[in-house]
């Protein structure tokens, strides 16, 4: 890979890492909004998603120009495509944080999360945020071992996802159908968020150089 190309790519990776970190912070705030029925916090997350979308657009534009001006080789094209896919995943992670924030807004001033499910949802939110921050680190370090640690954290998130289903389907569930339906979607959003973080880390660690 040419030195000029490497410099541009590492700049793009840095911006991507910032973008992925933002989605982690958005998810952290969305979870707070959800647990505390905090409408203002929810609105903040929803409004701030524009910044993430704009970053995606900028990375997209620069990647296109990079391809059309630098006559990249096969491996370089693959690197740029990996970057574009990471940006798409990160944009989707931002959307998923918005979905969580909207769940909070929908049930405000009540909480969408009944007492019985609070602890699981809190843990899911923490893990999701952590996964995003770690995926951002992998974008900068390209550390394959960190990418594989991330997979383990995602498995914990999936286990919580299953536990939440177990809870709402158990005979002990006393909160009725509406919270069960809300939690089904909320849990799915966290799970998808984690999948995207794992996919980002996988692409970031796979350095084609």
């Amino acid at each position: 890979m040419s030195p000029a190309f490497t410099t541009v790519i590492s700049g793009l990776r840095g911006e991507l890492a910032d973008m992925v970190r933002m989605t982690g912070e958005a998810m952290g705030r969305a979870t707070e909004a959800l647990l505390n029925a905090d409408l203002e916090q929810a609105q903040t997350v929803i409004a701030a998603d524009r910044v993430i979308d704009d970053l995606n657009q900028r990375i997209d534009d620069r990647s296109v120009r990079l391809v059309s001006t630098m006559a990249p080789a096969d491996s370089e094209v693959r690197e740029i495509l990996a970057i574009l896919r990471v940006a798409t995943s990160a944009e989707r992670m931002g959307d998923l944080a918005v979905h969580i924030a909207k769940s909070a807004r929908l049930r405000h001033p009540d909480s969408a999360v009944p007492e019985a499910a609070r602890e699981i949802v809190r843990e899911m939110g923490e893990l999701a945020e952590q996964l995003a921050l770690e995926a951002a680190d992998v974008l900068e370090t390209q550390d394959a071992r960190a990418a594989s640690d991330l997979k383990a954290a995602d498995e914990r998130l999936d286990a919580l996802h299953r536990r939440l289903f177990g809870l709402v389907l158990s005979p002990d569930w006393k909160d009725g159908i509406e919270p069960a339906v809300d939690l089904t979607l909320i849990s799915r959003f966290y799970e998808r968020f984690g999948d995207h973080a794992v996919s980002i880390a996988g692409r970031a660690a796979l350095d084609p150089r």
Copy 2:
């Protein structure tokens, strides 16, 4: 755009259209499997997704080679990226059909869809399949009006999605929490499938030439 480039792109568009049609057929079969608790049909959909994944990989490889061998201009790079995004969406549509098939498998020999929800789910399945087939047509015709008709069909799908939520949350719902949770996810899968079809048609109709 150079004639050689145009020829390759139109070949890729044709393959993409086939791929998107396959996801529509997969969704049609997955819906049958769901409504009839047909385990064999569900397994067929799950196994056949490999073909869709392989097509995605092939389109991916060819696009990379196209970029690195043809020194494309900005607009040509955008066209190739649009193709790659469509392929990613189509792969995801295949996954969503698999999710529906897996819901059928999970509850077999029972049906995951209680009588009260059958008609809505049947309509959602039909609309989803239709959306995929129409998106495939737009890939070949690049007809902007057809792309906008697709949006209207997707709004009908979204309306069914809301109706299903209304149903499981109504006091008339007598089927309990498990089918409500199943239907929440199933309905979400159809809705996302429709979103991807609309996004594909939008990209396909936006011809940068």
